[in-house]
């Protein structure tokens, strides 16, 4: 009898059920989309923050200090120690290799540029543009195109194994050279593939493939410093502690967290005779901005949950309030409060279940669309979200119906049937 009542209620009141179902579906869809976006936004914004450039710098361990003003290094280029280029792919062999989005080695040398009969002393910076490297079976591409996204090239990027170069835009206007021209540096003819604009000291320099400057310096395999761009976790109390004072278990936790400090430590382990350090301007501010945006999205998600809970409970309350005549009839025929309440709750549960199911998939699709259009990447829906969303749907529907059901059950059947609401 109970099952039949339930069945008939859905069969005969399609419009009302549909209305309540649509409300639940919409509410759940919005909640799913917002939770999915909020849980993933940390990672997405973290990647966006990488557009500020590298957050780690690897230098030789026993290096002499830099004598650098306004990006011009006054230290003799051969002075000090170097890192070995051959060690660089090992960066992709560290524990947090998947968090390392790219790295760029740098080797500045001073050279004389010959254009026609005119000679000028400039800094030539050797680096990777988009170099293909391999570590074990792992193939990857890295270079300034990915670690320094604010570098703009008018023309085309040089190929790493070629003898093409970029000329900073200030220097280019000073030397009156254009993309496509050829300049001679230390007897070597180099083709200008494009003009570089960075808004920094590189505007007055020449940027060349790494092997070109190694040759100029006469030290194959030499690298002065390496900029590493890594996804990190905002600093917390554990990150700030000195790893040397940590106990075994705590040390493991520190080592296995993607703090900028622990990634620096692992880079030092991977590259012999190196010193890795966070670039505080980028690394420190990243954490603040990231936690602010994450906090904001969390609060906005709470607002979304509130709005969808309200939509669901409003729809349920209306649906039940409209049926007080039915309640009157049932009670007049001898149904107890419990039986009436049970029927309504069973209906709510069914609605919540189906609404939640459709809403979850609609919400996933919505999150997917948001991820595509805003971040150009997939928003991952954690599978654990499904039971959570379903539970929320059922609880909210129950809570939303409870007050209305209580009022409906308390109704005097005589008044209900007479229609005096």
């Amino acid at each position: 009898m109970f099952a039949r009542l339930l069945y008939e209620s859905f069969r005969r009141q399609k419009r009302r059920k549909l209305l309540a179902g649509v409300a639940i579906t919409l509410g759940v869809a919005v909640a799913t989309a917002m939770i999915a976006v909020a849980t993933d936004i940390g990672d997405k914004i973290n990647r966006e923050l990488r557009s500020y450039g590298a957050n780690l710098l690897v230098t030789p361990q026993e290096d002499t200090i830099d004598v650098e003003i306004g990006g011009v290094n006054l230290k003799p280029p051969s002075d000090g120690n170097f890192l070995s280029e051959a060690d660089l792919p090992k960066i992709k062999g560290t524990f947090w290799r998947h968090n390392i989005l790219g790295f760029s080695p740098m080797l500045p040398v001073n050279a004389s540029v010959q254009i026609a009969a005119h000679a000028q002393d400039v800094t030539v910076l050797g680096t990777y543009f988009a170099k293909k490297l391999a570590f074990g079976k792992d193939q990857f591409t890295t270079g300034v195109e990915n670690t320094h996204p604010w570098w703009k090239v008018d023309g085309s990027w040089p190929v790493d194994d070629s003898s093409e170069i970029l000329v900073g835009e200030h220097l280019a206007s000073k030397l009156a050279v254009h993309a496509g021209d050829t300049v001679a540096i230390a007897g070597q003819n180099l083709k200008i593939s494009g003009l570089l604009s960075t808004g920094g000291s590189e505007d007055d320099q020449i940027v060349a493939p790494l092997h070109v400057t190694q040759q100029l310096l006469g030290r194959p395999d030499a690298v002065r410093r390496v900029y590493v761009s890594a996804l990190t976790k905002p600093e917390d109390a554990l990150a700030r502690r000195d790893p040397k004072t940590m106990s075994g278990e705590l040390w493991d936790r520190w080592y296995c967290s993607p703090y900028v400090q622990s990634i620096a430590y692992q880079l030092q382990e991977a590259i012999p005779h190196s010193h890795a350090e966070q670039i505080r301007q980028v690394a420190q501010n990243e954490g603040t901005v990231l936690s602010r945006i994450k906090g904001l999205m969390l609060l906005v998600t709470l607002a979304a949950l509130l709005a969808s809970a309200l939509a669901v409970s409003a729809a349920m309350a209306t649906a039940i309030f409209e049926r007080r005549r039915e309640v009157g009839l049932m009670k007049a025929l001898g149904a107890g409060n419990l039986a009436v309440a049970a029927l309504f709750f069973a209906e709510s549960t069914l609605l919540a279940f189906f609404g939640g199911l459709i809403g979850f998939f609609a919400g996933s699709w919505l999150a997917h669309r948001i991820g595509r259009s805003i971040f150009d990447s997939q928003i991952t829906i954690q599978p654990v979200l499904f039971p959570v969303i379903m539970a929320i749907a059922v609880i909210v529907t129950f809570a939303g119906s409870a007050a209305a059901i209580r009022r409906a059950v308390r109704f005097d059947p005589v008044f209900a049937l007479r229609g005096d609401a």
Partner: protein, 384 residues
């Protein structure tokens, strides 16, 4: 008895003379008072929807300013340097400050390469410590210099100038300055290899004037561009350039955050509007008896429609007003919880919320009305 007999005609008189609108108003008010349970729940839905909408719109407008402030902790976004490494004119800093007029901060830097007693080169920088402390908040400094002849020494420079922590001498063009390291500086960048001095001591010693001024200009990208243009106009001998790394990074992150917040706001406001629509439709539908009675008593279609529309509009307006106040409160709380700063109430949001609320309320009155209009009053009154 006599008083009532005197009163009765006066009531009738009053009613007869009363303008037509007062009956309309009375119906509006009585409807709300008599069915206060249902009216209250409809109003509550309206208030919550308006509050959520207000809070989201407020946040959307305000959060950009808040985040921009956070982004300023990345340091300078504009740099002024003398052309070809020359010093800047002496009036550069006051000129820049007058252009910024409080909407930013400018910090001068002057550089020389000095030699230690052992003959090693080290870059020495003169700057304003109070300002640099505010501009470059990421600098990890063990202790800021407070007395004269104290320097802030970079982590890596320390091993060259004063490995044992003793006072040290630096020489530039034959002039020697005797210094002690007040504290060490760590940034992970070029600053680690430098020695920092207060600007007046630096100038007295080296005679070199500032060659670089780093500026953190507040405001939107257009504001910053405006500052760059005005600076370039005011300082023809200097080169003014935005720090692309900072400016572009900020634009990108801010753009993505805004877009996400926008999507969230649209979703939330849509949900809230639907919630109001569902509740109000139910409320109006529930009053089909009133509708039928009014029609049975001879009210015209237009009068009944305008009555229900006025009712919905009044509900929307009251809900919007109350919701606006609550929404401002929510936005202020989020601002305090997340940014430790107050969110300024944007009263420009109010007309939008008001129009939206009244619009949704009218819409939710029209749908059931058009359904009811097709039904004979007698059928409704019979309860079918």
């Amino acid at each position: 008895m006599s008083t009532s007999s005197q009163a009765t005609p006066s009531v009738a008189e009053r009613r007869a003379n009363a303008p037509h609108t007062s009956m309309f108003l009375r119906m509006l008010v009585r409807a709300a008072v008599l069915r206060r349970g249902r009216a209250a729940s409809a109003l509550l839905a309206m208030i919550v929807a308006a509050a959520v909408a207000t809070a989201m719109m407020n946040l959307y407008v305000d959060v950009q300013a808040k985040l921009r402030k956070e982004f300023r902790s990345y340091g300078a976004n504009v740099v002024v340097v003398g052309k070809d490494g020359a010093s800047l004119p002496a009036d550069a800093l006051p000129k820049i400050e007058s252009i910024l007029s409080g909407r930013g901060m400018a910090v001068p830097f002057s550089y020389v390469v000095a030699r230690t007693l052992s003959g090693q080169s080290v870059v020495v920088v003169g700057t304003d410590f109070d300002r640099v402390q505010k501009l470059n908040r990421w600098w990890s400094v063990s202790a800021w210099p407070s007395a004269s002849q104290q320097a802030l020494v970079g982590m890596r420079a320390l091993s060259v100038v004063s490995p044992d922590g003793k006072p040290f001498d630096l020489t530039f063009q034959g002039r020697t300055i005797h210094l002690t390291a007040a504290g060490t500086l760590q940034t992970g960048a070029a600053e680690d290899s430098r020695v920092y001095l207060p600007v007046n001591e630096f100038t007295a010693w080296s005679g070199v004037a500032p060659s670089t001024i780093e500026i953190a200009a507040n405001g939107t990208a257009e504001d910053v561009n405006g500052v760059v243009r005005r600076l370039a106009g005011a300082l023809p001998t200097a080169e003014v350039r935005p720090v692309r790394q900072i400016v572009e990074g900020e634009a990108r992150v801010l753009g993505k955050t805004r877009a996400t917040l926008y999507a969230a706001a649209v979703l939330i406001i849509l949900t809230a509007a639907l919630c109001v629509l569902a509740t109000l439709t139910g409320w109006v539908f529930d009053r089909r008896r009133d509708f039928a009675i009014m029609k049975a008593l001879g009210a015209s279609e237009g009068l009944v429609s305008s009555f229900f529309a006025a009712e919905a509009a009044a509900l929307g307006a009251v809900g919007a007003a109350l919701g606006f106040v609550v929404g401002i409160g929510i936005a202020a709380w989020i601002g305090r919880a997340n940014f430790n700063a107050t969110v300024v109430p944007r009263f420009s949001v109010f007309p939008v919320v008001l129009a939206g609320s009244v619009g949704v309320a009218l819409l939710s009155a029209i749908v059931p009305m058009s359904l009811l209009r097709r039904v004979q009053p007698a059928m409704i009154l019979k309860g079918e």
